[in-house]
C-alpha cells in the first residue's frame, strides 16, 4: 500500500531543501533555463517572446449563431443558478458547477437527482469555451448542445422540456428576460440552451501568476516554480505539455491514462467505438487547478502529488493504455517543483458585468 503521508513528508523536506538552495544561490549571472520541444525552444524568463503562445486570447469569441449580448448573459446567469430548472426544485447547474469550488463540486464523483452518486467527477467549467468538444467523453461539440443535457438527464436534474417551458412561461421575470434576450423567439428549449451557453463562455481564467510572469512580471514565479515549468515542458521529464498544451493547458485530446477505477468506464469509446478510445477521456485544463480537486475523471486523485505519482508510475491498469503514458523518472526535487508550478495556474474568474464591452453589448 502506498503511504501518501510519508511521501508528502519526504517530498516536503526535499522541497524545503530546494527552496533553501534557491535562496542561498545567487540568481544573478545564471543563464535562464531553456527547453527544446522539436522545432520550438522556450526560454524561461519572464515576458520572453518564446512564451507568448501560453497567453489566452484577451477576449473569448462568441459564435455568430449565438452572439453575445448583455440581456442574454443576464438570463443565462439566472438560469444557471436556478434550482427551478430541476424537476424537484433542488438542483441547479451551479449545484455541481459551483463558482466557490472552481466551478466544480469538490466531490470524488458528482451527486445527482435525489442524492444519486454518479459515475464521473464534475468537470470544471473554467475556460470551457476553448474546448473543441465538451464532457469527459466529448459527446457534445458545442456548449449549446451540452447545456440542456444535464437538465434533462434523469440522473441529474431530471427535468422535461414541456414542464421546463411551462415553468419559465409562468414566471413574469423570465418572460421579460427572454423577451429582452430573444425578442423574436421567446422561451424555447433552444433559447434556454443558448442563454446558458453564452453565460458559460464568460467563465474565463486568464490572470494567474503564471499569466503575469508570461507578460513580464519577474516576481510572479519563484525560481522553483520556473524549474517546475521546465519539468512540465521537458519531453524527457514531465512531458505534461504534450497534452496540457498552450494556451489553455489542454488540447482536449483523448487518452486512456491507466486509472485503476473499480467501475469500468468505456469513456470516449461509447461515442466513438475505435480501439484506442476504450477507457479514454478528455484531457482537462489545468487552469485554476488549485480549486478543482479531486482530480481525474473518476476523482481518484485527492491532490496534485497523487496525480504526479500516478504519472510517475506510468499508470496502474495498463489495459489499452495510451502509448503516450510512460513511467516518469522525476526526482523528489522535480516533483516538488512541478507541483509548485501547477499552483501558479489559478486566476480569478471575473463576473461578466465587470467587462465594459459586454455591458454595452445589445
Amino acid at each position: 500500500m502506498p503511504n501518501i503521508a510519508n511521501d508528502v513528508q519526504r517530498l516536503s523536506l526535499a522541497g524545503l531543501l530546494c527552496c533553501l538552495l534557491s535562496i542561498i544561490c545567487p540568481t544573478t549571472g545564471i543563464t535562464a533555463p531553456e527547453v527544446q520541444l522539436e522545432d520550438q525552444k522556450y526560454t524561461l524568463t519572464a515576458g520572453h517572446s518564446s512564451l507568448q503562445n501560453w497567453l489566452l486570447p484577451p477576449q473569448n469569441k462568441y459564435p455568430s449563431r449565438n452572439s453575445v449580448k448583455y440581456a442574454k448573459l443576464s438570463l443565462g446567469e439566472k438560469l444557471f443558478f436556478d434550482p427551478g430548472l430541476s424537476s424537484n426544485g433542488n438542483l441547479a447547474c451551479s449545484s455541481c458547477h459551483n463558482p466557490q469550488l472552481g466551478w466544480s463540486d469538490s466531490k470524488k464523483t458528482a451527486i445527482g437527482f435525489r442524492g444519486m452518486i454518479l459515475q464521473r467527477a464534475t468537470p470544471t467549467l473554467i475556460n470551457i469555451s476553448y474546448n473543441p468538444v465538451q464532457n469527459w467523453d466529448g459527446r457534445n461539440e458545442t456548449l449549446e448542445d451540452q447545456a440542456l443535457e444535464p437538465i434533462l438527464n434523469p440522473e441529474e436534474m431530471n427535468m422535461h422540456i414541456p414542464t421546463l417551458l411551462k415553468t419559465l412561461s409562468q414566471n413574469s421575470n423570465y418572460k421579460d428576460a427572454f423577451k429582452r434576450a430573444f425578442p423574436k423567439r421567446g422561451i424555447t428549449a433552444g433559447t434556454v440552451a443558448e442563454a446558458i451557453a453564452t453565460f458559460e463562455r464568460t467563465i474565463i481564467s486568464n490572470n494567474s501568476r503564471f499569466d503575469e510572469w508570461i507578460v513580464g512580471d519577474k516576481e510572479a514565479l519563484t525560481p522553483r516554480q520556473i524549474q517546475g515549468f521546465a519539468v512540465f515542458l521537458d519531453p524527457e521529464k514531465g512531458n505534461c505539455a504534450g497534452c496540457h498544451s498552450p494556451p489553455n493547458f489542454t488540447d482536449s485530446s483523448f487518452h486512456n491514462i491507466g486509472l485503476a477505477s473499480k467501475t469500468p468506464d468505456m469513456g470516449r469509446f461509447k461515442h466513438l467505438p475505435l480501439r484506442s478510445m476504450w477507457g479514454a477521456f478528455k484531457t482537462p485544463t489545468l487552469r485554476n487547478i488549485n480549486e478543482t480537486a479531486p482530480y481525474f475523471h473518476d476523482g481518484s486523485a485527492a491532490n496534485l502529488l497523487e496525480v504526479i505519482k500516478h504519472y510517475q508510475k506510468g499508470g496502474i491498469d495498463k489495459t489499452n493504455l495510451s502509448p503516450e503514458i510512460k513511467p516518469l523518472q522525476l526526482n523528489d526535487n522535480e516533483v516538488i517543483a512541478l507541483k509548485d508550478f501547477l499552483t501558479t495556474l489559478t486566476g480569478t474568474v471575473k463576473r461578466f458585468t465587470t467587462n465594459p464591452q459586454i455591458r454595452t453589448s445589445n
Binding site: 473543441p132 483523448f254 475505435l274 484506442s276
Partner: protein, 111 residues
C-alpha cells in the same frame, strides 16, 4: 482460323490499355500531420487514388473516418510512420484524429 488470333490479340490489347490507363492515372497524395493539424484542409481526389497520412508530430495520431463514402480506422501510430487508404467510391470523406478532436480535414472523391 488465321483471322481469329489477330482479333484476340487486338481485344487483349484494348483490355490491357484500359487497365493500364486506369492504373497510370491513379494519383498518390501525402497528407502530413504536424502540430496537431493536417497539412491540407480539403483534398480533391479521384476514385482509385491513394492517400498517405504521415505523422510528423512527436505525438501519436489515430486517423479515422465514419463517412458513408469510406469508413476506416488507421489505429494509433507514432512520428515517422505513415498509413494509407485508397478511395474507392465518389463522395466526401470527413477525416478526423480520434485522439485530437481539433484535427479535421475532408477528401472530396470524384469519378
Amino acid at each position: 482460323m488465321t483471322l481469329k488470333r489477330p482479333i484476340l490479340h487486338y481485344a487483349l490489347y484494348i483490355l490491357a490499355s484500359v487497365l493500364f490507363q486506369h492504373t497510370a492515372s491513379a494519383e498518390e497524395y501525402t497528407v502530413d500531420q504536424k502540430n496537431k493539424k493536417f497539412s491540407i484542409e480539403t483534398l480533391n481526389a479521384q476514385v482509385g487514388d491513394t492517400v498517405h497520412f504521415l505523422n510528423s508530430d512527436r505525438f501519436f495520431h489515430n486517423i479515422y473516418s465514419i463517412s458513408e463514402a469510406k469508413s476506416f480506422d488507421l489505429g494509433s501510430y507514432p512520428k515517422g510512420k505513415s498509413r494509407s487508404i485508397t478511395v474507392d467510391k465518389p463522395g466526401t470523406i470527413e477525416v478526423r484524429c480520434a485522439i485530437h478532436p481539433g484535427m479535421k480535414m475532408k477528401i472530396i472523391v470524384s469519378d
